[in-house]
Symmetry: C2
């Protein structure tokens, strides 16, 4: 880990890529910023244009830059966080992965709720209420609410002011519906209720109650996934 | 997140890379395996050799494959886990990052210790004792024990049988000494003691005591980092 951060044994394009990374880290280029053109960048880094092209390609595949066609090269919003940073797609058993993800959520998210109860601003609580309401109406309309559900949990994670937690929660939470098909729409009613209980406890600044409500929410979630898994195992005759 | 896992809008090399990924996921190629040569792979994927070269380059930059010069192309051991998967090097304040990492460790690692107390095998406990002893002798010799320290915590994480936790713990734990200079060697004596307390509780199959010992260990660690941070802030006059 972090081997790529050491400077030895690097090719010219790798070193050029490192220079671009340094300029992002030191704030010269910020997330969302447009990079100078190939020619300017080559001059600035004192390398050839083909080296710049190679460096950009590598930075794109590392999710540090993105090329918007006909528009230019930009610094990505969640800079350097890969599409599947923890290699979930290489897990040999996706159902086991789902339960592993539930287990780690149960370790982290009750604490997140408790911290959010201390730190959330009024504005953040209003935004979380909107997310709650949207999940509710999507469930009622029979729509897939997963994206919005992840947003609610991510907003809560942001309230901790902990950048690692804020990065990690969407990675973990998005993976579950991606790898496990949770179809029992009739059961999601409890999602509405337990989300609201978490938020009500945050509003009441009651960390203990927020953590407990989150724990109930996640344990209910885990049971749903366990049910989905036994159904899937039955169907595949395992 | 996971956008790269969808098949639309992909170039030929990207699709070839996806095929290689599928062959890793379905077990055709396992971590550590050598891939067929460029020519064979091109035939197998029904694409040109330049497409294969491009695909391999992209898979290397995603830490899925590695090229060992003069030897061939191999599937990486921790397949698809990037060098800095959570983008820590882009954190604007590395000292704040260190404390954020401590906070998340305090959420996860006491639970890990408790689960390890239930699940660790005799052999694993012996291996952990070796790691403990090695940390101890390195500290006594005044050597940098960080790598070995991370190994102890990673072994404990492996005892949970949770692949996500096993992936995550080394990422989090390696980052702390990478970004924060913890120099107070005279203080690390307590590391020896608290590591041993965790392990003794695991051996006694006492989950509660293991969690408590881990909490003490991490809180002591956090104080060390807080001290390192205030020293660094004083020196830089912030």
């Amino acid at each position: 880990m972090f081997t790529a951060l050491n400077a030895e044994d690097k090719t010219l394009p790798e070193r050029a890529a490192d220079q671009v990374i340094s300029m992002i880290v030191d704030g010269t280029f910020k997330p969302g910023d447009k990079l100078p053109g190939e020619y300017d960048l080559a001059q600035r880094l004192n390398v050839g244009r083909s080296t710049v092209r190679e460096a950009i390609k590598s930075l794109v595949s590392q999710n540090i830059l993105e090329v918007r066609r006909g528009n230019g090269t930009f610094v990505k919003e969640h800079t350097g966080v890969a599409d599947d940073p923890l290699g979930f797609r290489f897990a040999p058993d996706k159902l086991k992965l789902g339960l592993d993800l539930c287990e780690i959520r149960l370790m982290i998210e009750p604490d997140i709720a408790a911290i959010a109860a201390q730190k959330a601003t009024e504005q953040e609580m209003d935004q979380m209420q909107e997310a709650c309401d949207q999940v509710k109406s999507m469930i009622r309309r029979g729509e897939n609410h997963m994206k919005c559900d992840v947003e609610f949990h991510t907003m809560l994670a942001r309230c901790t002011r902990n950048s690692v937690i804020y990065t990690l929660i969407p990675i973990i939470n998005q993976a579950i519906p991606y790898f496990i098909n949770i179809t029992k729409r009739e059961l999601v009613e409890q999602t509405i209720e337990t989300h609201q209980q978490v938020l009500d406890a945050v509003r009441a600044r009651d960390g203990h109650a927020a953590a407990e409500a989150m724990r109930r929410h996640l344990e209910y979630n885990r049971r749903n996934i366990e049910n989905a898994i036994s159904m899937e195992r039955e169907q595949s005759g395992k």
